[in-house]
Subunit: 123 residues, 2 copies
């Protein structure tokens, strides 16, 4: 079973769609890097049970991403927000050095606070 | 069966998780405003079958939103992007009327193009 880091990311988006045992198995396996044996001991199920949970849960996550495309969407949102931040910084620097407009400064602050909240939604 | 407009919105987000008959039933019912009888005729199933599809599909959509919260998240993103646009317009107006900085103008254009793409992702 090769660890696919994409699965760890999808777990953040779709973890609430898994059963508790499936989610815990994936979490131990991908985020805590436990062995199948260690996970089996933690969950009080067989090693094969853990393996089945992980396989099944991975299939659910990949299927959900194929249908909803959320992880890809949020990755694009993140990238575009970073690009907005960069362009805003150009305006900010120019305003600080040359124009010193309080109105522009206030608008930049407002946009930055919205960007912070958008980044948080996207975590 | 009271029509809940929230369902029409959730259909956009989670429609791909429904069966074809479920999705078509909801689409005819909410978006095309057809009667149960008309939908039954269109899909070649019984009126009760349509009713069952709609009930089941609505339950799936509401359950998905409870777990993933996507519709609420995207509504918030939309609102914050509009707020960014408004604040950017203040900067733009001030720049056009007073400072006439080409560098600020270019940065504003870049931000606007990112906002357009973000709005599109959010549709």
């Amino acid at each position: 079973m090769a660890k696919d880091m994409k699965v760890a990311l999808l777990l953040d988006f779709y973890g609430d769609l898994l059963t508790d045992k499936q989610r815990d198995s994936l979490d131990f396996y991908y985020n805590d890097d436990l062995s199948l044996g260690e996970i089996a001991a933690n969950l009080g199920i067989s090693r094969q049970g853990v393996r089945d949970n992980i396989k099944r849960a991975e299939a659910v996550l990949l299927d959900m991403e194929e249908r909803l495309n959320l992880a890809a969407k949020f990755a694009e949102i993140k990238q575009r927000l970073a690009s907005v931040r960069n362009a805003l910084d150009v305006i900010d620097q120019r305003n600080i050095r040359i124009y010193r407009s309080n109105e522009i400064n206030e608008s930049i602050k407002l946009i930055l606070s919205e960007l912070d909240r958008l980044d948080k939604l996207n975590e």
